[in-house]
Amino acid sequence: MASKREELEIYWNKINYAYPILNDTLFTDCSDAEYEDIQQIIVGLGVQIKIRDLILVHTEKYFRQHVASSFWSKFIKTDEEVKGFQLFKSAVNDLYEAMASFSPMITRLTILNNSCCDNKPIYGERDVMSGIKQLLRATLLSQLPLDFQVIINHFYKVSFNVFDNAEYENSDMGEDVMCSGCWNEYSDCNCSYIVKVFHDTNRKLVELTLLERLTGQVLTNFIQQRIELHIQKLCTGTFDVSHISFLENWLDTTVMSWLTRIYCAGSSKPHRVDKDIQNAVSKFKQKLSYSLYHIYTKLRIDQLFNIIIVYPDSQPAVDDIKLCLDKTDLRATLCKKLQNALETRLLHPGVNTPDILTAYISAIRALRHLDPSGVILETVTKPVRNYLRNREDTVRSVVSSLTEEGAGSELAEELAKFAAETDDELEKEEDWDNWMPDPKDADPKVNGNDRKANDIISMLVNVYGSKELFVNEYRTLLADRLLAQSVINTEKEIRYLELLKLRFGESQLHFCEVMLKDVSDSKRINALIQQDKNFESLNNKFSSNAMILSAQFWPPFKDESLELPDEIKQHFEAYTKSYEALKGNRTLNWKPHLGNVNIEIEIGEKKLDLTVSPFNATLIMHFQTKPEWSLEELHQIMKVPLIILRRKITYWQSLGIISEKSTDNYVLVEGSDGNKSSCSTNQVQEMICEDEESESVMASAHDQREGELQVFWSYIVGMLTNLDSLPLERIHQMLKMFASQAPGTECSLQELRQFLDTKVRTHQLVLQAGMYKLPKT
């Protein structure tokens, strides 16, 4: 019994000798030959399974108490990158050495395990080696300290710096004393040391299968940061270069080869054999290229407003965004950000309407390029359209830029382009092969084709939803231009008119056509009348021409009265007679305040050559007969309201020809007085001045509308005579019922209220308790 016990004691000591781990140490002199005996003993006793499990339990304890704690104790939070680098390196080294000291034991354990024949997996793994590694990993990670990433981050930062620097080494071999890789002086640059340590450490981590688990997150974060930095360095301020292929290349070469080296411990090409590494690297690459696109697109979206403003030049940037938008999920962000940018930078009273229009136009162009379906454009520019609708001078700005020539008038170019493009449209429609569904954020109520078909001009016109407003505005502008210019470039105007006709349709612009014909007809009639014998004698003094207009086709003129000097009146009467002779049964109604006059004024030595309005000409001609006039006298003779007289006489005052002696008394500044003025040298001076007035001679749109509403007045008077008093709504309803055939009948309740209010103000109506009444006579 005792000998049996002693025997067992000896066996146990021998087992302890072979597996010192059972006493929590690792050192033993046990050789392979000795172990074979011990193995036999264990098998002989039939306790191999029990012994194996006991060893595993002790190994786990040893890992937990010694290996893990000494590994993590190196992870001290530090700000110094180099220190972090060293710490991580030594921690990994120690761990690796600790693992190495296990290796004889593992060999023995493997033999032991093979003799167990129970096929029980060790920590979920088939063979002992991977089981132990799994155990180590589990133990280490169960004790993960809070800031372990700091150290790892330092480690990779230092090494990436060196690496990144090596890529560009040729380019920045300047006079730097510092090596930009390791921030040491060149003399003791330890880049190569860092690279060596780096690869070594990574190899050890790979062998311990700890690399991914320990450093994966840190590495991803870190590389993302690097990508962001790199993109920001590369892409700020320039929109005229496409960066995306360059960035992809950078990711492929610099970042990926660095990553491959980490995984493959130094060699830049992955081993073809190792599927796991290849998989890991390609997974990593997918993640990284997504974040590359994401970061780049975000950056570009922040700059999108500026990109749009310089659009045709920034096309590469737009192309990049277009490409990236398909790969990332940033459509919604783009819409929101751009909308905000537009609102803060464009849609406030400090911006001129033409500037808003320019921005809107380039936004249309850029966004149409970015998203051919037009959905982004529609979403983003909605606030712009709403805002433009509220600006009074939008239509005028659009129309004038449509007809402007030269640089900066993109709309005019667009108009000309449209004419050239109309022919190709039909072919495009049947392109089934390239059909694309609408993006998911599209408004299902709107037909996709409508969105695409809209070009820039129709987008602008659609701000208001009707062509009519634009055509009317164009007519007014054209009328102003035709009347203001003494020499009219009819050909140019006709060309524009033809272009506009293509766009707005023949019928809408028919009036303008007549206007242009009036101008050319007038030229011919003038020429004919100049030849008239009766007229010739008069014309010896000065030549008189006329613009003969078809009143029905021109926008209504502002009504202004002006009594011309007799001399001029005679002229016009003679002209009318000639005209009547020329065109049977037709006569002329003169608009005395319109037109322009070329006069020469001689004051002493001074000679002025001026082109002025008929009003100014008449005024100065009166001063020729009498040097001093009171405002009242002028009013009597010219039949012009006092206010207008006072305002317009300032033109001559500004020229220093007339001065205000006392209130409302004007006197001619004659010879000697004139010499005192600034321009009174003895030389004869020829001055050519333009009349400063440039206000429109046409009735404003508001006045025109008022005129249209006047149609209703007779209906309203009839209604109120019969029914005594009516509320606004009733009047509106009755008008809709009875007067809907009259022109301009789309009269909203609001317009009607305004119209009736003006009538109340002029005492043609009485408003009592919400009811309109005719005043009692």
């Binding site: 030549s543 029905q552 049964n585 037109g595 006059v597 006069i599 020729q624």
Partner: protein, 84 residues
């Protein structure tokens, strides 16, 4: 001071000398053109009948073509062009 007018460009609107504003057939103003025309004035002149009523020439010709008897649509007298 001496003011010399070198040239004076005035602006005038033309109108037909007629005893009404609108054409009795198409109800358009005389100074405008008949519905079939684009340009007023010389291209769409007025004509007077012996009864002193006047119309756009295109309007009255169309009217006369569509009627069995040649009558003025205003006064039902026989229509004769008055070439005054």
């Amino acid at each position: 001071m001496k003011v010399t007018v070198k040239s004076w460009t005035g602006v005038a609107t033309w109108r037909w000398i007629a005893n009404d504003d609108n054409c009795g057939i198409c109800r358009m103003p005389f100074d405008s053109c008949c519905p079939d025309c684009k340009l007023p004035g010389d291209d769409c002149p007025l004509v007077w009948g012996a009864c002193s009523h006047c119309f756009h020439i295109h309007c009255i010709v169309k009217w006369l073509h569509s009627q069995p008897q040649q009558q003025c649509p205003m006064c039902r007298q026989d229509w004769k062009f008055n070439n005054k």
